[in-house]
Subunit: 554 residues, 2 copies
Amino acid sequence: MLKKLFPGLEWMLTYKKHDLRGDLSAGLIVAIMLIPQGMAYAMLAGLPPVIGLYASTIPLIVYALFGSSRQLAVGPVAMVSLLVLTGVQGLAEPGSSEYISLVLLLALMVGVIQLVLGLLKLGFVTEFISHAVISGFTSAAAIVIGLSQLKHLLGINLPSTENVFELLYRAFLQINSMNFYTFLIGITSIIILIVMKKWIPKIPAPLVVVVYSTLLVYIFDLHEKGVSIIGEVPGGLPIVSLPAWSMEAISALMPIAITIAIIGFVESFAMAKVIATKEKYKVHANRELIGLGLANVSASTFSGYPVTGGFSRSAVNYGAGARTGLAAIITAILIILTLLFFTSWFYYMPTAVLAAIIMVAVYGLIDVKEAKHLFKIKRIDGATLLITFGATLTLGIETGIFLGIIFSLIVFIWRSANPHVAELGYVKEANVYRNIKRYPEAVEKENVSILRIDSPMYFANITKIEDMIQRKFLEQPSLHTVILDFSGVNDMDAVAIEHLNELFTTYESLGKNILLCDIKGPVRDVLKRAGWYEKYKGKIESHSIDEALATIKE
Amino acid sequence: MLKKLFPGLEWMLTYKKHDLRGDLSAGLIVAIMLIPQGMAYAMLAGLPPVIGLYASTIPLIVYALFGSSRQLAVGPVAMVSLLVLTGVQGLAEPGSSEYISLVLLLALMVGVIQLVLGLLKLGFVTEFISHAVISGFTSAAAIVIGLSQLKHLLGINLPSTENVFELLYRAFLQINSMNFYTFLIGITSIIILIVMKKWIPKIPAPLVVVVYSTLLVYIFDLHEKGVSIIGEVPGGLPIVSLPAWSMEAISALMPIAITIAIIGFVESFAMAKVIATKEKYKVHANRELIGLGLANVSASTFSGYPVTGGFSRSAVNYGAGARTGLAAIITAILIILTLLFFTSWFYYMPTAVLAAIIMVAVYGLIDVKEAKHLFKIKRIDGATLLITFGATLTLGIETGIFLGIIFSLIVFIWRSANPHVAELGYVKEANVYRNIKRYPEAVEKENVSILRIDSPMYFANITKIEDMIQRKFLEQPSLHTVILDFSGVNDMDAVAIEHLNELFTTYESLGKNILLCDIKGPVRDVLKRAGWYEKYKGKIESHSIDEALATIKE
């Protein structure tokens, strides 16, 4: 019981000494990665960098206690940061105190939504956002995020627009006013990050570029030559408070809160599942929602901003040997120590290096291989991915994911409203009945047509199925029997039963036969309740096509 | 080609003389029914009665030319009228000229939405609103509509609220201030309508009660004793004009416009299908959308309000012998003549008789039998109906249908995310493999487990299916083979393939076997593109369980 409330207890009570080494080193490495990333992502979200550090403290500990993944690295992530900026910049000037207090309220709302979804066990609802939509959205958002950092990388002023083409065009126009030192720091940082990741992945590259670029600025006084730096980062811990709220603010933030709550969870849960599968333990959607929800509520009370499980940091955490939630707790403690004692060290850190870190991090999220793969295996999944990608890139990230979901829903409805029905013939060699279109050797029985319905039967597709049966009888007037193979009918609703009932009566009066065979248990139950086993005795009990054929009296 | 544009041409070009008799008498009877109903429904929508007559002219002719049903009686209906009132009363005072111009704009929007859905061939999307939702919503809306007429029936003042309990309570408080004459007219009209419908259905009862009550008022000067009457109805035809519009008005009306466009179409199309099936011709969702869309656009330009095909009037039209769209055109002409010459006859018509006509009409829409039927056959469909009904009655009609759709969607996702998987054994008697839980005599083969998956396999349910397979191997360590019977797998996506692929590799390395059998053509195509027929040669080609069992080498 207590373990259900605090999934964290599980690893605490069974903690093994030999796990400590891995947890310690992973905790340290993630902290080193998270300090610059936290500040960078806060910047991306239109917030002062220190907010990113606040969000990297208590929420991590809360998740370690209440979440069900042991290796997920919770904290600020790029996608959620961009969503925060998109959703809140229309309501207040990014960086202003009004903006910050709206973001705190947003974090609270995200937390409460996730908590409620988890407590009501509604985690399964998020499964409706298909993989193709997520993949297309992630790739496009990565591009939007990467390009949003262009201004920091080049040291120019660019409007914060989600339209990437406009952004590129404006950047091109201003290329002359670029700050050379800024660009140099940015581009060398990017090269170092890529090279180190490839050749010496053991050494935390973000730390290296941060130290390198900070020293560069400090030694050569580059901040006096137009290189933008972080400047004063307030030391100490934030005061605990509940965010200010008003009904207007809540209703204005609601759409973005729902989006962040769901997208944040979906991305995070996907990563948690990958690691859990490898480590042979289980994560539960609803417990994850509760864990992330509480983490976000705590982020809100500790002056943080919405957090979730990050892809790359979790991978690093797991790769560095994290065994339990203790690694995350160690990370949080290290960041608290940083806040207490070392914030002055960030003064000369150039914003260009943070831009470089973001750009390299999100580049890894662009997944062309997946798009190709989907197109090869299932064209419609590929199309869904491409449409989501295109819409996100051109119409903005909220509209993009929304359109993607709508499109995949429409595809889904269309498919289930247009069921596949195969006409079967007997394949002697294998002693089975198969689609005559695919097996030219399949033999049909004279004046009997066997139709296999490959779909549940319900209100949305029953008319189509009805049509096909009627057409069969119309096309072939000598037909006396249609056998419906129900092996693919996994479900049936009351409307479908009504229609089929009418069909049975109509054709009975015309002296024609309709027989059902191979009906599954769940469908048999429904037909039993509708009284079919009395009404249509002898017509629907056959276990197989052979049995049904044997019942025909010629 | 031309016939596709004007489905009405079909009946015009092939018009047979002997159809004329039925069309004439149906056209006349529907006109007699429509004149009081049109005025009553306009009143329900918060509009002057004459608007209901305007809406019963040109739109009927337009539908007859462009719609695909020959017997559907288009015009004002109760449900849409209530939706108009609900959606617009928050924006302007019902009856005011501002209110009327908003309703005209609304009709235009409804028309354009239906037209666009039809032209883009998106009619199938409406199939996602399940029968249970529609049935629950219709019953509840009928109660709301019926009770909204209580004030006219009793001659008291009641606030226009959607909360039926509040309404009943307030009516109860004011029962003393009831106007006795009004109540007498109303209650006798209701009795006459019910009795005549039952015993002499051939005579149009609405005409009888209208004449009876109008004469009563006229002879006894009841309007001077507090009986509310229609009063002046402007004669002549409306001027043709486009409604005034602004972006704010459009965005404020959008939700209700979408609701009316879809609900109106769904109800109307259901009736059109019923009649077409009986008459052995076909109606097409997209052409119906175009027909109704154009009818609504014309309603907007001719000072009408949103129209759709009505249940009861269509039944009367069909029952009175309508053979083609000519019946509707005759109805429209008769109403135009009424507008030109006879509007003064309505002066003394009491509003109570219109209330009585509405109440009796909507009473027929309350469908308790359907609710019982659904509960018996499929509990979850019954629950959906009940939730939609309850929400519509207590939270208002827009919220009601919205919650109903959301609930049915959640049920749908939940079902498909929790697939039914049966473990099979051999039933000797019938020579088939069946669920061992339902067939205790079914025999399992030693160390082989046969699982039949009764669901398409895709991202939302693949983890659950994976779990079941893994659990089988964990529970029974001596198991060396799991055969997956794919006869119920109608579809598969790329994510499912990925997961299954991993499962294959994992268990292969553990010396265990997973075999697939009886895969359908569409799924075989997907697996072929994923390269499975090379990679898993000998493991997935079996046509039947027997064949798969034969391939096992012990």
